[in-house]
């Protein structure tokens, strides 16, 4: 599951998804299960490839990535 990026809120996750899409990176919004390195109540983006590039793009666009769900 290290291709699941944790984001601070559902709004931030959707914004991140839209930004990645504009760079040609597809992702899927989903709730992150508890116990994967954090407690519950967060949303993430499942990204199949280019995850490092995705993180870099989000950082450049001032989207806070909380980490990867492990």
């Amino acid at each position: 599951m290290d291709n699941l990026l944790r984001l601070p809120s559902v709004t931030q996750a959707m914004r991140a998804r839209d930004i990645l899409r504009s760079y040609g990176i597809n992702s899927k919004l989903q709730r992150i299960p508890a116990g994967r390195g954090h407690t519950s109540c967060s949303y993430g983006l499942l990204i199949n490839n280019n995850i490092s590039r995705a993180v870099e793009i989000l950082r450049k666009n001032n989207i806070k990535v909380l980490g990867r769900a492990l």
Binding site: S9, V10, T11, R15, Q30, R31, T39, S40, Y43
Partner: protein
């Protein structure tokens, strides 16, 4: 009924708004931003679509800076009470609604002071000078209406806000009567906080509004609670929009707001403004020719006025005239002080109030002709 009380809320709502609310309640009425099931995600997507629509409508780049509120008043309270501290000073205009004047009055008990700057109709230079003279060393915030909800007078908010920035003062604009009628572009603006009503010019259901943050200074939250995010932490999240959106949102209203914005975009903002100001001009010029009918502004035009008209019939109080218009002529207007005592004091109508006429995109020339005929009859047949 001929409905000319659109300053309070627009009615009727577009069929597309009604349809979307209906669809939302029937098909995807789950709680957005909470669960992870398909319906919750779908609801979250819909809310985000509205957020993006509002961001695009007012031309800000980050939809996260669009905060849904229950009305414009709540948005104004978030800004005013979330920013100022003991010892701070606020400048407001002489045309403010109680949505602004009551919060700032309340803050006097917390050692916050405020000054009312007089708006001079038709003299933007003098108005600007009055605002400049109202600024003090400890002025933290300017709060100003975009246009009077009673007299339609537009305040030169961009110039005032730009001037305030020169003094390091944050700026907040009440766009309750302007949004959806007058173009507002925050991409090139000195407005830091724009407070919007959803249920007026944006044709959404009542219970919708927004605070749009266009600067880096984020007010403190006034309401804390569940946001669906970072739940393990007892401290309210700082991230936007969650910081200001505790508790279950008005989901169906927000869905209706998206449809309302789409409706306004389809019709064209300037087309709507042009249509409504022409109706107001027509009413103004006809009423002006009637003996005993008192008007309070110059002839409205798009440069200086929002489509709002106030009048009185000499010898009759505004409530009586509005009541006769309703009961005898089936015309809905709004009488009294319109929750804006400062504006009425400013134009000398505090003791009598006015009858207010506000059209919508659905108002026709025939509707205004009916109003004119009714006022003529009330005036000539006591």
């Amino acid at each position: 009924m001929i409905y000319l009380d659109n300053g309070a809320t627009t009615f009727p709502k577009p069929q597309s708004v009604i349809n979307s609310v209906n669809l939302a309640l029937r098909n995807y009425g789950a709680n957005p931003g909470r669960g992870g099931h398909k319906l919750a995600i779908k609801a979250s997507e819909k809310v985000y679509e509205t957020r993006k629509s509002l961001a695009e409508f007012f031309k800000i780049s980050d939809p996260s800076n669009v905060i849904f509120t229950h009305n414009c008043t709540e948005a104004l309270n978030f800004v005013i009470k979330g920013l100022v501290k003991s010892g701070d000073h606020i400048v407001i205009s002489s045309l403010e609604h109680n949505a602004v004047s009551r919060p700032v009055e309340k803050l006097k008990s917390r050692n916050v002071s405020y000054t009312v700057a007089e708006v001079i109709e038709g003299d933007n230079e003098q108005t600007l000078s009055n605002f400049r003279n109202a600024i003090r060393e400890n002025t933290k915030l300017l709060v100003c209406t975009y246009a009077s909800n009673v007299f339609g007078i537009k305040v030169p908010v961009e110039r005032i806000c730009a001037m305030c920035h020169q003094y390091g003062i944050l700026t907040c604009v009440d766009a309750a009567q302007a949004s959806g009628i007058i173009p507002i572009d925050l991409s090139d603006s000195s407005i830091d906080y724009l407070c919007v009503a959803g249920h007026k010019g944006l044709y959404a259901p009542m219970g919708t509004g927004a605070l749009i943050i266009n600067c880096e200074t984020i007010p403190d939250s006034l309401v804390e609670g569940g946001t669906g995010s970072n739940s393990q932490n007892l401290v309210q999240p700082e991230i936007l929009p969650d910081k200001f959106e505790s508790g279950t949102p008005n989901f169906s209203g927000i869905i209706g707001l998206k449809s309302g914005i789409d409706f306004v975009n389809r019709r064209g903002l300037l087309n709507i403004y042009h249509h409504e100001i022409n109706l107001i001009k027509h009413a103004y010029n006809s009423l002006k020719s009637m003996k005993n009918v008192k008007l309070y502004t110059d002839e409205p035009n798009m440069n200086y006025y929002a489509p709002v008209l106030s009048f009185n019939i000499e010898g009759k109080d505004s409530e009586t005239v509005s009541d006769i218009l309703s009961t005898r002529y089936n015309i809905a207007t709004r009488a009294g002080l319109h929750c804006a005592p400062l504006a009425h004091k400013s134009l000398g109508t505090f003791d009598i109030g006015t009858v207010r006429v506000v059209p919508s995109v659905f108002t026709t020339n025939n509707d205004i002709n009916s109003l004119i005929n009714a006022v003529y009859r009330i005036n000539t047949n006591p």
